[in-house]
C-alpha cells in the first residue's frame, strides 16, 4: 500500500529525514517510535503533504501512485488520513459543516454518492456513540476551546467518519489520560481491517498496550535504525533510546 524509499526531507534548510525506507501493506499496523527531534512528526506531515517540509531526495508510492506529486487534498481523497499531533482550531466553521464537506469531497473523489444531511447525521451519531462523544460538539466550531484531550478525541472521531485506507496517527496518545487513551485506542482498533493500514507514531510505549502493532520501527536522527515486532517496543521502554547511539545504523 505504501512504500517509502530513501526519503530525505528538510525544513528551513535543516535536514530532518536522512534516508527513510519503509514498506507498509494493507492490514498491517506499524508503530514508529523515537526520541524527540528524531523526525517522527516530520515523516507523518510529509505523508500528509505539508509543504513546509521540503523533500530533497527519495520517493513515496501510495497504491502505486507517486504520492509526492499529489496535493494534500488529493491524498486525503485517495484515503490517507493524518491525525494531527496539534489539531488546528478553526473558529467560525462548525464541526458538522467541516466534517460533511470533508466526507463528501472524499466520497465524490472515490465515485460514491454524496451524503445528504439526514444520512450524514445518522452516520455521525453512530460514530459518536462509538467514541463517547457528546452530540453538542457537532455544532461547535472545529476544535475551538477544546482541551488537548478533546482535540485528540475529535481527530479519532473524524477518522472514524472518514474511514481512511491509510491512517497516520501523530502522537495521538501524548497528553491523554488513561480513559481517553482507551477511547482513542478503541477507535483505532475498530478501524483495523485487512484492507486498511495504520501507522502509529508515538513517543511512548504505553499506547502499544492498547493498539498492538505488527511492526515496530525506531526512528533515530532521521533514519529508521531498527525494526522488529511488538517486543522491540518493550525493549525500548526498558532501555530508553540511549543505547541506540552505540548501534551501527541498520535497517
Amino acid at each position: 500500500m505504501l512504500e517509502i524509499k530513501n526519503l530525505h526531507a528538510q525544513v528551513a534548510g535543516k535536514e530532518i529525514l536522512k534516508g527513510v525506507d519503509l514498506k507498509v501493506s494493507a492490514g498491517e499496523v506499524h508503530a514508529i517510535m523515537g526520541p524527540n527531534g528524531s523526525g517522527k512528526s516530520t515523516l507523518a506531515q510529509v505523508l500528509a503533504g505539508r509543504d513546509v517540509y521540503e523533500v530533497t531526495e527519495g520517493e513515496i508510492f501510495y497504491q502505486g501512485k507517486d504520492l509526492l506529486a499529489m496535493a494534500p487534498e488529493d491524498r486525503a481523497r485517495e484515503g490517507i488520513f493524518l491525525a494531527f499531533q496539534y489539531p488546528m482550531e478553526i473558529p467560525g466553521v462548525s464541526n458538522m459543516y467541516f466534517l460533511k464537506a470533508a466526507l463528501n469531497n472524499i466520497r465524490k473523489a472515490q465515485g460514491q454518492p454524496e451524503l445528504d444531511a439526514m444520512d450524514f447525521l445518522a452516520l455521525v451519531r453512530e460514530k459518536m456513540k462509538l467514541l463517547g462523544i457528546d452530540e453538542a460538539l457537532m455544532s461547535r466550531a472545529v476544535n475551538e476551546g477544546f482541551s488537548g484531550g478533546e482535540k485528540k478525541r475529535n481527530e479519532i472521531f473524524q477518522m472514524a467518519v472518514l474511514e481512511p485506507k491509510l491512517a497516520v496517527l501523530d502522537e495521538t496518545d501524548s497528553g491523554l489520560d488513561i480513559d481517553a487513551l482507551r477511547v482513542v485506542a478503541d477507535g483505532v482498533n475498530a478501524l483495523r481491517s485487512p484492507t486498511r493500514a495504520i501507522i502509529v507514531v508515538t513517543h511512548y510505549q504505553r499506547l502499544l498496550n492498547y493498539i498492538v502493532p505488527d511492526f515496530v520501527h525506531v526512528l533515530y536522527d532521521g533514519r529508521l535504525v531498527k525494526s522488529g515486532d511488538k517486543n522491540l517496543a518493550l525493549e525500548l521502554e526498558e532501555k530508553g533510546y540511549g543505547w541506540l547511539e552505540e548501534q551501527p545504523q541498520t535497517v
Binding site: A71, R75, E89, A101, L103, N105, A109
Partner: protein, 449 residues
C-alpha cells in the same frame, strides 16, 4: 492647472444646485432654511478635504471632486422594482423607500405600524405642522464644523427618513429604510438624510440600505442622526451595497441619553470609494455603545471607517468590533477614536480591528486614536493584519477540502463572525448569501461545500 479648474467647476455645480434648491424649497420652515444656508457657507469655507488633513490622509476624494455631480432628478427615475426586490428584507415592521433621493410612497410599506411608532418622509413632515419637535433634533447632532460632506448634506436637506418611537414603545421587528439609485443616476448626487428619535425606554431596530445599479458612477452623501432616549435600546444596521463605480460618503451620528444602549453595525461592500464616519456621544451616565463593522472589498475598491466614541459621562462602556477582508488591489482604512472626557470615570472601552488580506497588493491602514482625560478607566485596543492561517489551510486540505474551498471557507468564517452579531435573521441570511456571491466571483467552485 486644468485639474484645479475642473475641480473648481465641479464645486460650482453644488453652489448652482443649492441656489436652485433654495427656490424650490421656499415652503420649508425658516429655521431649516437658515440652518441649510449656514451649512452651505460652512461647506464653502471648508471646501472638499484633501489628503493633507489627518482625517483624510489615506482617503483621496480628488476623483469625486473632479466630477460635476448634479442633483439627482427624482422624476427621471426608471425601472427600480427589480433592483429593489434584491434589497428587500422579509419580516420587517415597515419599509420606507427613497428613489434617487425622493420618497416613493408606492414602493414603501408603512401601514399597520403600532401606536407610538411613526415612519415618514422628512419632506412630508416638514410641510405638516410638526416642525417644532424637528427643530430640536434635525441637524443638531451631526457635527459639520470640520466635515465638509456633512455640511453639504445638511445644506441639501430636502427629503429623507424620519423615524420616531415614542416613550416605552417596544418594536419587535425592524424598520427598513432603503435609499436606492436608478439607471438614470449617472453623474448625479443625492444627500440621503435620516433622523431616528427614540423616547424613554423605547426599543427598536432600523436597517438602512444604500444600493444602486452596478457600473454606474454616482455620488451618495448620507447623514443619519440617531437620538437614543433614556434607558432606550436602538439597533442600527447600515448595509452599503452601492454600485462598484459609485462614491459613497456617510456619517452616522448618535446621541445617547442615560443608561441607553446603541448597537451599530456597518457593513460596507459596494462603492469604488466608501467613507464612513460613525460617531456616538454617550451623553448620559451608564450608556453603552457597540460598534460592529464588516468591510469586504476587492479590485480597486477603497473603504474607510472613521469611528469616534465620545465617553462624556461616567460609567459608560463601549465595544467596538470591526473586521475587514481585502482582496485585489483594494485598500482600507480603520481609524477608531475613543475620547474619555475628564469626568468620565469608570469608562470601559474595548476596541478591536482585524483585517484579512487575501492578496499581496491589498493595503490596510488601521489606527486607534485614544484621548483619555479621566484616570479611572479601562481602554483596550488591538488591531491585526494577516493572511489566512497556513496551518488552518493545511488542516482543511488534509481532510480532503481543496485549496480554493479551504481559503473560501476560512474567509467566510472570518467575516461571518461579524455578521453573526446582527440580531435579525433575514439580514444575516441575506448578507451571508451576498458575501458568498462576492467571494465566489474569484472562486472555482468544483468542490463540495
Amino acid at each position: 492647472m486644468p485639474e484645479v479648474k475642473q475641480a473648481h467647476e465641479a464645486t460650482e455645480t453644488y453652489f448652482a444646485d443649492f441656489a436652485k434648491l433654495e427656490r424650490e424649497t421656499s415652503r420649508q420652515p425658516e429655521w431649516l432654511r437658515s440652518k441649510r444656508k449656514l451649512a452651505m457657507e460652512r461647506f464653502a469655507d471648508l471646501g472638499f478635504p484633501t489628503t493633507k488633513q489627518e482625517a483624510w490622509r489615506f482617503t483621496n476624494v480628488a476623483p469625486l471632486v473632479r466630477i460635476a455631480f448634479k442633483q439627482a432628478d427624482a422624476d427621471a427615475n426608471g425601472a427600480v422594482r427589480e433592483a429593489l426586490n434584491l434589497a428587500l428584507l422579509s419580516d420587517v415592521a415597515a419599509r420606507i423607500v427613497f428613489v434617487d433621493g425622493q420618497w416613493n410612497p408606492k414602493l414603501s410599506a408603512l401601514a399597520n405600524l403600532p401606536k407610538g411608532v411613526s415612519v415618514s418622509s422628512l419632506a412630508a413632515a416638514l410641510e405638516s405642522g410638526e416642525q417644532g419637535e424637528l427643530e430640536g433634533h434635525l441637524a443638531c447632532y451631526a457635527e459639520d464644523a470640520d466635515h465638509a460632506f456633512t455640511a453639504l448634506n445638511t445644506a441639501f436637506i430636502r427629503d429623507g427618513a424620519l423615524i420616531r418611537i415614542a416613550d416605552g414603545i417596544v418594536l419587535e421587528k425592524p424598520i427598513h429604510v432603503i435609499f436606492i439609485r436608478t439607471e438614470g443616476a449617472r453623474h448625479t448626487v443625492t444627500h440621503p438624510r435620516a433622523l431616528i428619535v427614540t423616547g424613554r425606554e423605547a426599543q427598536a431596530m432600523v436597517i438602512e440600505s444604500h444600493c444602486g445599479p452596478a457600473g454606474e458612477t454616482y455620488f451618495t452623501n448620507a447623514v443619519t442622526e440617531i437620538v437614543v432616549g433614556e434607558n432606550a435600546a436602538v439597533g442600527h444596521v447600515k448595509l452599503q451595497e452601492e454600485s462598484d463605480q459609485a462614491f459613497y460618503v456617510a456619517t452616522v451620528q448618535a446621541h445617547q441619553a442615560r443608561a441607553s444602549r446603541l448597537h451599530s453595525h456597518s457593513v460596507s461592500l459596494g462603492a469604488a470609494l466608501a467613507r464612513h464616519d460613525i460617531n456616538s456621544v454617550m451623553a448620559g451616565e451608564g450608556a453603552e455603545c457597540t460598534l460592529n463593522g464588516l468591510y469586504q472589498v476587492a479590485d480597486n475598491q477603497h473603504v474607510d471607517h472613521h469611528t469616534r466614541l465620545d465617553h462624556a459621562m461616567p460609567h459608560c462602556s463601549s465595544r467596538e468590533y470591526y473586521r475587514g477582508v481585502l482582496d485585489g488591489k483594494s485598500s482600507g482604512v480603520f481609524n477608531g477614536a475613543i475620547i474619555v472626557r475628564k469626568d468620565a470615570q469608570k469608562t470601559d472601552a474595548i476596541q478591536s480591528n482585524k483585517n484579512l488580506l487575501l492578496s499581496e497588493e491589498a493595503v490596510i491602514n488601521t489606527k486607534p486614536e485614544l484621548q483619555i482625560l479621566a484616570d479611572d478607566v479601562r481602554c483596550t485596543h488591538g488591531a491585526t493584519i494577516g493572511q489566512l492561517d497556513p496551518d488552518a489551510l493545511f488542516y482543511l486540505r488534509a481532510r480532503g477540502i481543496g485549496l480554493e474551498s479551504a481559503r473560501h471557507l476560512l474567509t467566510r468564517a472570518f467575516a461571518n463572525d461579524v455578521i453573526a452579531r446582527i440580531h435579525f435573521a433575514p439580514a444575516r441570511e441575506r448578507l451571508e448569501a451576498r458575501l458568498l456571491a462576492r467571494l465566489s466571483a474569484s472562486w472555482k467552485p468544483e468542490e463540495v461545500l
